[in-house]
Symmetry: C2
Subunit: 196 residues, 2 copies
């Protein structure tokens, strides 16, 4: 198969991410968010919140990373960040298999290059990956607050569980982490997130 | 207002792009595509089809440009590429007003910088903008073919109108332009796009 045919197969398969529903809700109109529009919103956040990344972070890399970060959900589906550890482990394995298949649709060298960018995101070892992960944790908190905490209540999530995720935000961006911590405290004070 | 507050206002307003419905249809399940997921799909196309851009094209810039390219539709809505010239002109003006408001939500210098990237896309004067525009024209053709031409029939679009858009694809990427031209010819031969 020539390069273009393989690349367009990849593009078509990627398009199925619009059909993967997340556990967060949009408000206008109210409906579950899909992983394609979520990924786009994170790319916008990277551009808008760039100055909250540690100095020297390559924002273009962050944007590309966030564009790709949920692609594996085409096969593996979305799992709530609050799911139990055993489910998270199963999800991790399913995502590895999905990455093999999806990035394998591309010409070999190109597929390996884009796969490396996703691996980098998963491994959280670079400032770019840590900032991207921080945004990926911040966005659902912003959405959940905006939706009046409905998704939190639906999953029985408490403040402690959300604050555990806030650590990942602090790790990628101290200023966004501090902001997220205050946001969670206010959500508890406002009665839209259960304490404890 | 501090920077973070302004940036998060921008992020929240941008999120409304998920509520803007386009004239193209997704197939799995069949529904109209929204402009947020469309923008994400184009960013994926930029990464996947990078080798079809003219040598020296900065793909990171293309990805950022495509992430932002339809943001103005939050206020201005989507207009079919096949709409009459008078409507296109009205849309152009509405998008300028929308850009003033939306990029104006950001801290001044940052807003101006992202606005310049959108202006660059609109002006089509750089290889990055021409490649981004080529992808923006190619994606609906791929979607329309996949949906069996239903969106074309719904709007009474003929092959000549689609081929007019193919010129923009050729302008940004000769190889993708040639591919799109063959795709349109095949759509006519297959009876899913009206000749003429």
């Amino acid at each position: 198969m020539d390069h273009l045919t393989r690349q367009l197969d990849f593009v078509a398969e990627a398009g199925r991410l619009s059909g993967v529903l997340r556990h967060t809700e949009l408000t206008d109109p109210p409906r579950r968010e899909n992983s394609a529009e979520h990924s786009w919103h994170l790319a916008i956040m990277a551009l808008a919140l760039a100055e909250h990344a540690p100095a020297g972070t390559n924002i273009a890399t962050v944007v590309a990373m966030l564009t790709l970060h949920d692609l594996v959900e085409v096969d593996a589906g979305d799992l709530s960040v609050h799911a139990p550890a055993a489910e998270q482990e199963r999800q991790h394995l399913a995502e590895q298999v999905a990455a093999d298949r999806l990035y394998g649709l591309l010409p070999a060298e190109q597929g390996a290059e884009l796969r490396r960018l996703w691996d980098e995101f998963e491994e959280r070892a670079t400032p770019e990956a840590r900032f991207a992960r921080a945004l990926d944790r911040l966005q659902p908190i912003l959405q959940d607050v905006r939706a009046g905490g409905r998704a939190w209540r639906g999953q029985g999530v408490t403040a402690d569980q959300v604050l555990e995720k806030v650590q990942l935000i602090e790790d990628g961006s101290p200023s966004l982490g501090e902001f997220a911590r205050r946001l969670v405290e206010r959500a508890v004070a406002d009665g839209i997130l259960a304490a404890g």
